[in-house]
């Protein structure tokens, strides 16, 4: 084949562009943009700042946890206990604050509590080889039970302003949780895509045996990832608590399935080893836009679950068909 340097570069560019378009992240981005255009035509409220802010605040909780969840799924793990962990962190921090502990220390202790839950999950899964589904399902119930016991079944109210500022304060008119979400997503995306440390999760989830052979400390990777997702659930728990100025014992129920759904829509195959933080974030954003849009159009809230479930299955079906096509093409 005779190829001049120019058309080689052109080829290279074309290939890369096709590659980008073929990514799940790109199609999600496109869908989001289309949804935005459609919604601004449907509802005058959609593109108002108040609506966008409400949507972003709701998104921040899911997206922050999704950053950790996607890494965990990549390494072949799964965590169903994050909703409870989120609740526990809020209650523990709230109780500490009300007993006079300074805000910074209460926050640290709250996050530490969350991390301990992750550590317990990670140890059970990696050292005792207990199935992650069972481990974290059990943990979900235990932690929810524990937090009810600790809070005696009641919400913790009247939190000091030195704490609530992290959920309510503004910079350039935008609330802190939105910045925190953006920072975590960007850092997560860059680190997971590019550092050797986080790439270890791909090998671990893809093929544990060969990951070990490549010198990866598989147990350490798993434990780290369980701690990471739990700590991020803690962060989300603190932000919710601060935003509402109180910590409820029921907060975070059902959250785990929503976050897992978001990461799957964003391309994190449940069988491990695939996709990215950006995808997970876009998946979460997609679900936030969907919920918001359905509200604005006036669809009954009862329909929303049905639509979300349908979209989850459709996303996976598209993925399966896509893979089939690509495999046959070679």
């Amino acid at each position: 084949m005779t190829s001049t340097p120019e058309n080689k570069t052109a080829h290279f560019l074309k290939d890369r562009i096709i590659e980008i378009i073929a990514q799940r992240e790109f199609s999600l981005f496109l869908v989001l943009a289309l949804a935005g255009i459609f919604m601004s035509a449907m509802s005058p409220v959609f593109f108002t700042w108040a609506n966008a802010e409400a949507m972003l605040l709701a998104l921040s909780v899911d997206a922050i946890i999704a950053v950790g969840m996607v890494v965990l799924l990549i390494s072949g793990g799964l965590d169903l206990s994050i909703g409870s962990t989120l609740g526990l962190t809020g209650v523990v921090t709230g109780l500490l604050l009300n007993s006079g502990v300074p805000a910074w220390l209460a926050i640290l202790l709250g996050l530490f509590t969350a991390m301990l839950v992750g550590l317990a999950n990670g140890l059970l899964v990696s050292k005792l080889k207990i199935n992650p589904f069972i481990t974290t399902l059990g943990m979900q119930m235990m932690i929810r039970g524990l937090l009810l016991v600790v809070a005696k079944g009641k919400a913790v109210l009247n939190l000091p302003e030195s704490f609530t500022v992290i959920g309510q304060g503004r910079l350039f008119g935008i609330q802190y949780p939105i910045y925190i979400m953006l920072v975590l997503v960007i850092i997560g995306e860059v680190l997971v895509r590019n550092t050797r440390f986080f790439r270890q999760s791909y090998y671990t989830g893809g093929n544990e045996k060969s990951a070990r052979l490549s010198g990866i400390n598989v147990d350490m990777v798993k434990i780290f990832n369980y701690c990471l997702v739990a700590t991020l659930a803690g962060v989300a728990g603190l932000l919710i608590t601060a935003r509402f100025g109180s910590s409820s014992v029921t907060v975070g129920g059902g959250l785990e399935l929503r976050v897992i759904t978001a990461t799957i829509i964003g391309g994190a195959s449940l069988s491990g080893g695939e996709r990215s933080v950006l995808g997970a974030f876009l998946g979460a954003a997609f679900m936030a836009v969907l919920a918001n849009s359905l509200n604005l159009i006036g669809v009954d809230v009862y329909w929303q679950n049905l639509v979300t479930g349908l979209i989850l299955i459709v996303a996976v079906v598209i993925d399966v068909l896509n893979e089939k096509r690509k495999t046959q093409k070679k």
């Binding site: 590019n194 090998y203 070990r212 010198g215 080893g273 695939e274």
Partner: protein, 506 residues
Amino acid sequence: MVAVLQAQNIVKRFPGVLAVDHVNLDLEKGEILALLGENGAGKSTLTQIFGGAIKPDSGQLLLEGKPVSFSTSADALNAGIAMVYQELSLVGSLSVAENIFANRQPVGAANFVNWGSLYQQTQAFLDRFELDLDPRRLVKYLSMGQQQILEILKAISTNPRVLILDEPTSSLTESETKFLFENIRKLQKEGMSFIYITHKLFEVFQIATRAAVMRDGKYVGSRLLNEVSENDLVSLMVGRNISNLYGDRHFKQEAQPFFSVKGLSRKGYFENIDFALQRGEILGMAGLVGACRTEIGRAIFGIDPLDSGKISLNGEEVNLKNPRRAILKKVAYLTEDRKNLGLFLSMGIRENIISPALEIFTDKYGFLERSKLTQYAAQKMVEYTIEAPNPAKKVIHLSGGNQQKCLVAMWMSIDPQVIIFDEPTRGVDVGARSEIYHKLREFADAGAGIILISSDLPELIGMCDRILVIHHGRISGDVLRNDFDEKLILSYAAGIDPQTAQARRP
């Protein structure tokens, strides 16, 4: 010359067996040593000891004269002993580059991967082996053969002194095998040493310089390959002379076929397949990997749909649209992939053997008759010489040969008239092979028709009464027993008409 790897008095005992029994073995620098033996002879235990996956009970390993001991495979790899197992260890969702340099990606500040340098190094590495692959391509989109080659290259990329290959060619095409052998020879010249495990004896003569033989955990001896014949090696492996490996033929060509297919086609796979089978006949199907022989067998058995074609059995047309129908018509298909498609690995021998014929063991209320089926399974285990302590033994714990015998016993429970047997002896040792061949002869003599799909040409020539050669989904040759000739069959398989010696366009 000092040996690169020496095993001294290695012993490994597992519950109930002495897997490796005081083995002494030397591997010279730059040598390709074939390690032979039947399944259960201890080859894989021994090589796993070399590779650090198993710790020996006693004995000493010397690497370039220095004593070494490994507690993990990673230790052995660091010391320069790499092992490529039959199962793939690649990560499908990562690129070729990240698979080769697994956890060894070039990194810059803060352990950030330097992608440019990673792809460049990978390209240079692939170029060295003249392998045309895009370093960025995701591994899951590669063919099985490409993945297998990549697996081996990944091991080579760690620059080992000793590379252990376990059945590396099991899913390679002819040209991929040739590619692999050329590169092995190239690395051999550069001083790399190889231990090569295979059941394909003809390959041993192509690639290895010396063959070491193990039997029942013991080291039997080694032979230079230019001094021995295939038969000598077989005798060493089984410890007795196997003169009549394939058994005696009794079949005579008659006029009346009882099973025939006409115009079988499946778009994208095969086209216009016609053949007829007589009672007692063993009909071979030869061809290269990718010729779609397996697909033909699967379609006849009703697993994959046919686009057109007719199948007749005993003079009437039958519609075998799914395996259930095929089984009712007493057609059996024994898959080439016994682990994934053939057996229920985590179930017992008993449950496996009876699985295609559950109704025989069911009483009128729909309950399984335990005592009847245990008795049946125990009897079959004797009949098929399946070596296991009891019928409840899980199939996953059996050797390849014993698993294959289970597969045969399982399908004989439907008392088939037509038996399609895909790769009957893949991963099966010589002793079990001979037993399977003799069983096949028995079925044929009892009146069944057998279609034997195999990539092992000596096996087809030894067993069959007639051989159909498939090339790109079409029958390119039909050879009767008196005309059997390896060269002739190979040229048909490659799509070359031996009369004109012209390559046929697919």
